[in-house]
Amino acid sequence: AQSVTQLDSHVSVSEGTPVLLRCNYSSSYSPSLFWYVQHPNKGLQLLLKYTSAATLVKGINGFEAEFKKSETSFHLTKPSAHMSDAAEYFCVVSRGYSGTYKYIFGTGTRLKVLA
């Protein structure tokens, strides 16, 4: 069965310092992995996706993630946090069945950015 584990429920960083949000996945075959962000009272916005083309994936707003098969990880990073990055972040793996792909979500990491 496929699953994702987000290792931290809350992360606090100072503005201008690096961000690391950790995600480990479990999959019996090559997974499709995504990071989504949810700002308060808003929907889920796609940050980036991994679909086996390149292990380092660049997304929007300066975020990137590296797929490491040996570590079954897909951690999200950003070199310098902005106040506007404060939100909840979800690591997602998609699982195909009968021609559609449902998402399996991690529990989320709430990022707090301190001034």
Binding site: F34, L46, T51, G96, Y97, S98, T100, Y101
Partner: protein, 113 residues
Amino acid sequence: EPEVTQTPSHQVTQMGQEVILRCVPISNHLYFYWYRQILGQKVEFLVSFYNNEISEKSEIFDDQFSVERPDGSNFTLKIRSTKLEDSAMYFCASSPGMNQPQHFGDGTRLSIL
């Protein structure tokens, strides 16, 4: 940029009543989904829909739930007889193709009294 729209943003309903949550997916998308997030819990898959039929549904999606694409633009989730435990945020999503990224609406917060 086109987006998925959901109405209403907040729905309050008495237990046992029927409720319909509405979604307008992005116009050229072919795959449609409903997810829910109970407060403090994970986002959970409910159902996927393609070619006017359900492709997959979770164990949560029992006989009380149904989905419909009545007119080629709307995609609705109906809960026939609501229970207290149906209180959650419900998200609609659509994607243009199989295993393409899903685009989400802002959600409908359903509160059952």
